[in-house]
């Protein structure tokens, strides 16, 4: 399988602290790739570097073979790299309808049109309706996002990334904070993503990771620790040591 997203010696320092220290990661097309690691391992920083929220101190990022290291965040989205956030980043004053419409208009190059009214582009409206239905948001589409229950907001968070129609989707703990009985709804939508969409998932819940991923990378103290198929990673004594808090020399 061709590599669709790759980092080469990626580093990020905050002051004197190396949050990410020389990560070289290869993600294959269509992969279900999980990035795991203890708290503070630098997982979210990696996502922020990949999406352009942060600029790396060193190293390169390649998307479909092209160097995007210094590309602005919004341009990466247009190249097919979308993400969700660990903590919801939504437009609280807008409705789900408007929110999804924003992403679709932008992708179709119609987002800056000032001469036509919102809702008059049938292409956009059709797709909004389709995505809202797929994410079970149709019944709340006219409500203010800020007033929605947390589970619905979480679905919208993911739906919004999907509306960008990414080739590569970065999911930062999609089920975080969602009550147990609502989790399946979110995980089902993630599982139902088209096979040609490459997914990089950050997750703490090992049940989710092992039911979803076909490849796992373990990040510890900002460095890539283990990288392999789920069964290899599960067997690896070093990973157990890290997760059980044991010292490696013991």
């Amino acid at each position: 399988m061709p590599v669709v997203l790759e980092t080469v010696g990626l580093e990020k320092h905050f002051g004197g602290i190396a949050a990410v220290a020389g990560v070289s990661l290869k993600i294959e097309k269509g992969a279900r790739h999980a990035l795991i690691g203890p708290n503070g391992a630098g997982k979210t920083t990696v996502i922020n570097l990949l999406t352009g929220v942060l600029r790396p101190s060193a190293g390169r990022i390649l998307l479909e073979g092209e160097d995007i290291t210094s590309l602005e965040a919004y341009k990466r989205v247009r190249r097919g790299l979308a993400r969700t956030f660990q903590i919801n980043q939504l437009f609280l004053d807008l409705t789900p309808l408007e929110t999804i419409g924003l992403a679709i208009s932008e992708r179709l190059g119609a987002g800056a049109q000032w001469w036509r009214l919102v809702g008059t582009n049938p292409l956009v409206v059709e797709e909004i309706v389709e995505i809202l239905a797929r994410f079970h948001l149709t019944d709340v589409m006219y409500e203010r996002t800020g007033n929605l229950p947390y589970g619905k907001q979480r679905l919208l968070e993911i739906a919004l990334a999907i509306a960008c129609r990414p080739h590569v989707l970065l999911l930062d703990e999609p089920a975080a904070g969602v009550p147990e009985d609502e989790r399946h709804e979110i995980l089902a939508t993630v599982a139902a993503l088209p096979a040609d969409v490459t997914v990089l998932l950050i997750e703490h819940d090992m049940d989710i990771v092992f039911s979803f991923a076909d490849r796992i990378s373990v990040l510890v103290n900002g460095a890539l620790f283990v990288d392999g198929a789920p069964e290899e990673v599960a067997r690896d004594p070093r990973v157990k040591a890290v997760y059980l808090g044991e010292s490696l020399d013991a």
Partner: protein
């Protein structure tokens, strides 16, 4: 089935841009004032250009979240350009001169927009304030062109479209300002309800997420800032043309600060805030100045403090009318009600 839903959704979205009865009432009242209040046309003229100026600030503050204490920079430039065009006969026809003056202000808006892209509200307040101070000082330092502290005198404004001569009662001036205000209001309304306008609200609400769905937040802010500067320039040009005069106070800090006050009185983010605020501000100023000529600023200050204390969320009251108010009261007093949620429009 889905096609029916698509049609319904499109209808719902389109309905939001539809004219509401109160809007018709507002503009009919404005039209009526032309015929019914001929003795008040001088102050109405001031209200009209102030309303346009406040509309301009609303575009960047209410829709894009850019706060400014120096919006007079664009107003003042428009003012001087219009006065100079008329004085030296560079562009005699007022409407054309008006548009060119607005474009001149837009160029300044574009050039300075890059200064307000980054930074907090405080940075933006300081940067915009600084730009206006610089503009004032430039005008002060080139008296050969601007007349310096004496102001630009000897301006003679030609008849509008070669037909309508400005009169001392302000009849023509008011009709002229009102028509310009109405046309630019229609344009602003169009822009605000467009995909571009919606994306501005997303940039205001959450710039991080906006850029994460492919929106070029900087480009949007530059565009609306430039557009708003055009409006402010037109407002300034209207002042110069209707008074046949321009002086340094078009750039003054008080002008920018008063403008913010006008918008706070009327409320931001629904386009009518600046218009209603301008009416209230000018009438209040006029009324209080008649009562107590020395102390009118005291009363204006008191009103400002009261408004801010009562709450910034007047949008719901104006647009949703009594219903929104009733809903809030019911929620507050309903037995066993949960704490009152943050009302819409309160979010930043």
């Amino acid at each position: 089935m889905p096609t029916a839903l698509v049609a319904e959704v499109a209808g719902r979205l389109a309905r939001r841009a539809r004219w509401r009865p109160l809007e018709y009432a507002f503009w009919l009242a404005a039209l009526a004032s032309v015929f019914l209040l001929p003795g008040r046309h001088l102050i109405l003229t001031e209200i009209a250009w102030l309303a346009l100026f406040a509309l301009s600030l609303d575009l960047i503050l209410g829709y894009a979240g850019i706060i400014s204490l120096g919006h007079a920079a664009f107003f003042g430039l428009g003012s001087y350009l219009a006065a100079l065009f008329a004085k030296h006969g560079i562009i005699n026809e007022p409407v054309l001169a008006l548009v060119v003056s607005g474009l001149g202000a837009a160029v300044l808006g574009f050039a300075t927009s890059f200064l307000v892209l980054r930074g907090s509200d405080l940075t933006r307040l300081m940067v915009t304030l600084g730009v206006a101070l610089i503009m004032r000082e430039i005008a002060n330092q080139i008296p050969d062109i601007t007349g310096g502290a004496d102001g630009l005198q000897g301006v003679v404004v030609a008849p509008i479209l070669g037909m309508f001569q400005f009169d001392i009662f302000g009849h023509v001036a008011y009709a002229y300002c009102l028509i310009v205000l109405f046309i630019l209001f229609l344009l602003a309304r169009r822009v605000v309800y467009s995909p571009f306008g919606l994306s501005l609200r997303s940039v205001k609400g959450n710039p991080l997420r906006a850029s994460s769905i492919g929106i070029s937040t900087n480009a949007r802010l530059v565009a609306i800032y430039t557009f708003a500067a055009f409006y402010a320039g037109i407002a300034g040009a209207l002042l110069a043309q209707t008074t046949a005069f321009a002086s340094l106070d078009v750039f003054s800090f008080e002008r920018s600060a008063d403008l913010l006050l006008v918008l706070i009185i009327g409320g931001t983010g629904y386009l009518y805030g600046g218009l209603i605020g301008a009416v209230i501000f000018k009438l209040m100023q006029d009324w209080i100045a008649n009562l107590t000529p020395q102390y009118w600023q005291f009363w204006i200050g008191l009103v400002l403090v009261l408004i801010v204390l009562v709450g910034r969320d007047r949008i719901g009251l104006w647009t949703g009318g009594v219903r929104a108010l009733a809903e809030r009261l019911m929620r507050r007093f309903a037995p066993g009600a949960a704490p009152v949620p943050v009302p819409p429009g309160e979010g930043r």
